[in-house]
């Protein structure tokens, strides 16, 4: 009898332990207690600088992050995702020191929500190009060729930054585009071009460059008028605002700019006229 009572109680007791463990965990991840958590014993110097950057920046930021750590001794924690995702994470209370979305409207939204410090600096810009599968099976030569409905054309949806720019560029060039698909992200456009499912897609120069040999790039004259700018800002609630500022300075420095240029970005207006 006693034994069976105990075996019956045991799972319940275990559960209580588990439940109380659960109940505690939200506290330990609450904003204030995080700095004093186990992996960061020294809040002033030991905590990594948290950088929220657009997915398109990830590859180019990796070497710069390394350089930053060598210079300052501070570790950098880089979170890369779509700009809208990053913004909604910040809105929901995610902690970061630096925010670098892939377009200015996203930064304006962050500004409107008082998430960032008032000064944002443009670190780089990007222009729209035509990406075609290697070999150019659709024999695309200019933007005007894309008006031909015979070609499978893929764009970003107008709601997505790259789609907005595509519309502006097409309008400036006086070309009526008839897309076969309006994708949700530039990655999806590139995916359709890489697999040669589409004859052409409009993407940013850096995306086309990243795709390597699978994709050929055709420049669009009118696109220079509609550069897409990458702004960077220190978060209003940054725990390490000075270090965050230094990180942005590094991006604007000569070595930062040359790294960005190598990845296909155009230089920031402040850095070189």
């Amino acid at each position: 009898m006693r034994r069976s009572a105990r075996t019956r109680l045991l799972p319940g007791a275990l559960l209580l332990v588990l439940l109380s463990g659960c109940a505690n965990s939200p506290d330990s991840s609450a904003p204030d207690s995080r700095a004093s958590d186990s992996d960061t014993p020294d809040a002033e110097t030991g905590q990594p600088l948290r950088v929220f950057a657009a997915a398109s920046l990830q590859q180019v930021l990796d070497p710069l992050v390394q350089e930053f750590t060598e210079r300052t001794g501070a570790q950098v924690q880089l979170s890369s995702a779509g700009s809208a995702d990053l913004l909604s994470q910040l809105e929901q209370g995610a902690e970061a020191d630096v925010f670098i979305p892939a377009d200015e409207p996203t930064m304006e939204r962050a500004q409107d929500a008082s998430l960032i410090q008032p000064t944002a600096s443009v670190i780089a810009s990007n222009t729209l190009v035509i990406a075609v599968p290697s070999g150019n099976p659709g024999r695309i030569g200019t933007l005007a060729d894309l008006a031909d409905p015979e070609h499978a054309l893929v764009l970003c949806a107008p709601q997505v930054p790259c789609g907005t720019v595509a519309q502006q560029v097409a309008q400036a060039a006086g070309v009526a585009l008839a897309p076969d698909s309006e994708e949700l992200a530039v990655t999806d456009v590139l995916g359709k071009v890489r697999s040669a499912e589409a004859d052409a897609g409009l993407v940013y120069s850096t995306d086309a460059l990243r795709a390597g040999a699978e994709v050929e790039t055709i420049l669009i004259e009118e696109a220079a008028e509609f550069p897409n700018r990458y702004p960077a800002a220190v978060l209003a609630e940054a725990e390490q605002p000075e270090l965050a500022g230094e990180f942005i300075e590094l991006l604007l420095s000569e070595s930062g700019q040359s790294e960005l240029e190598q990845a296909g970005f155009s230089p920031a207006p402040e850095a070189s006229g």
């Binding site: 698909s181 949700l184 999806d188 040669a196 499912e197």
Partner: protein
Amino acid sequence: MSRRPAGGAALPRWVLIPAAAAAVFILLPILALLTRIELAELPSLLSSEAALSALWLSLRTAVAATLLCTVLGVPLALVLSHATFRGSGILRTLILLPLVLPPVIGGIALLNTFGRQGLLGESLELLGVQIAFSTAAVVLAQTFVSLPFMVIAVESALRGVQKEVMEAAVVDGAGPTQLLRSIVLPLILPGLASGVVLAFARSLGEFGATIAFAGSLQGVTRTLPLEIYLQRETDPDAAVALSVLLILVAVVVIGLTRPRTAPDALR
């Protein structure tokens, strides 16, 4: 058969605690979603042309995918449940792969199969079939991710069919087709129904494979989940409102199929 055993097999009380935790875990986030909705704006958000065309497309494609899943999945489940051939175990495992595969990768796999440069691409092009960027591609993507649900549901129902019943029918002179039609199918109807519900629900929510394989064009390939993702880019409130629409559709469909049939289908 559909009644639970009463009295004797009562549940231990402690089960209630994790059970409640599970229910809360599922319902609380959905509740949190509902609290974000501005009721006054709901009608205008839901009646936009983009929303309606996405809803209509989602319904059409999910129904088509469910039909395909039924036509293809039930025979496969029948074969697997009878399987004595070598490698049938491996086949059973492989067929479940779409469940583990990230849907985006499923979409890429479909692209490599039915795409212009895919395995079957050239043959399809010769036949004049263009799947890329068409509604058919959406249905294919949905069928790919949903088919395993149908197969699992029907196969586990088939295992519940008692051998004696079938043997008795054979003794009474029933041929294979007659056995299937008048004995097996009626017996597995509950399992089939839950297969239909699962496949339909999975098709309705399908996102990753569709975006990677079919593309996204209003009225042609942009289903409700894609529209929701797109809206989130500029108007998160509209995205939430559309999600509620998706939930409502799912609840209605599951409600229509479920009450009479499902409870003992997935035991």
